[in-house]
Symmetry: C2
């Protein structure tokens, strides 16, 4: 690209470092910011600065939080005995928006992935083990992606804790509500037949 302005070039360069944003989109965004009132850009830069400088990880569950202890961990009405292990804050947000889960969370901050060079040491696993040891945890729900990395991570944690009397569960894998059978992939279909549930249980759940 043949920029007439170094300031613009610099801005495009920095914006295009964001994932999924190429040089062309970055230029479009930069020119958009020049079109809108300057206060919008000031709000944006302030929000980004705040984000990286002031956000904290909850000291108990490792979720992103404005305070040292997040609002789920500090909520005394939530069940301490059930911990739902998830990958990141997006999973917490997804489960929270169902308004059905009343236990606590533990955010690993990723999945074990040798391909991407993420080892168990890079994840927030030790604090989870400590938590389980100190609290009377009765159930660990693994709510990780149904991928090899997710399964590896589950297996790793399960192996460490396997000899305790904690109940380990994973969220159900199967056909999504409203999904058509013919478009479901084979593996999901196989699993959903293997893990079939009694019909009356299904009715009760709905």
């Amino acid at each position: 690209m043949n920029f007439s302005s170094e300031i613009l070039e610099q801005a495009v360069e920095e914006i295009s470092k964001l994932p999924g944003i190429g040089k062309r989109t970055a230029l479009r965004l930069a020119l958009h910011l020049l079109d809108v009132p300057i206060i919008q850009t000031e709000n944006l830069t302030k929000a980004l600065s705040n984000l990286v400088n002031e956000i904290k990880h909850c000291k108990i569950c490792n979720n992103l939080s404005d305070t040292d202890i997040c609002h789920v961990c500090s909520n005394i009405y939530r069940d301490d005995k059930i911990i739902c292990v998830v990958e990141d804050i997006r999973d917490v947000m997804a489960i929270e928006s169902t308004h059905q889960y009343t236990g606590k969370y533990h955010v690993l901050g990723g999945k074990i992935s040798p391909m991407e060079g993420i080892s168990p040491a890079d994840l927030c696993i030790t604090p989870l083990l400590k938590r389980i040891k100190e609290q009377k945890v009765e159930e660990i729900i693994f709510a990780l992606s149904a991928t090899i990395e997710g399964d590896t991570t589950m297996f790793y944690i399960y192996k460490i804790l396997g000899d305790t009397d904690i109940k380990f569960t994973t969220i159900a894998r199967g056909i999504g509500i409203g999904e058509e059978l013919e478009y479901t992939d084979e593996l999901t279909l196989i699993r959903s037949i293997q893990n079939r549930i009694p019909y009356h249980q299904n009715i009760k759940k709905d």
Copy 2:
């Protein structure tokens, strides 16, 4: 979305004000910034602040520039007698990257569009007229999009200047190099037949 952090929510809110970026993408970008070294976010916010606070419009051609007079206008080796009228800096960048055009530019900053409420007064037209009056301009090349708005803008400027002895040209409309005839739209095809050029001229140009 069910955010656990107001700081994060604020950042997502501001990022999603950018065109083409929804809440989900904004969240992905915000979480990405939390993953990368803090210096990257600092560079980004600094570049954006610089962009909106320090970039200038060239006092002659209205192009974006770091200085009062842009590098094209201040280049004494470029032909003052030809002015290429474009919509915005992206068009200047596209033409400059061909390294073939040696005249000057004039950036309108948009096109006349009653639908979007953009009138001639919103565009940088008066300085263009002033420039033409003061300099010995011999040719105006309209390099605007081949849309109704582009055509309207061209016609508007042409009507004002029509009684001068300036030569008015538009960039050629036709089949792009490497484009297949069968996929070209009808209007382009009609125009390219109407404005056909002698074969020897075509050879010379290549």
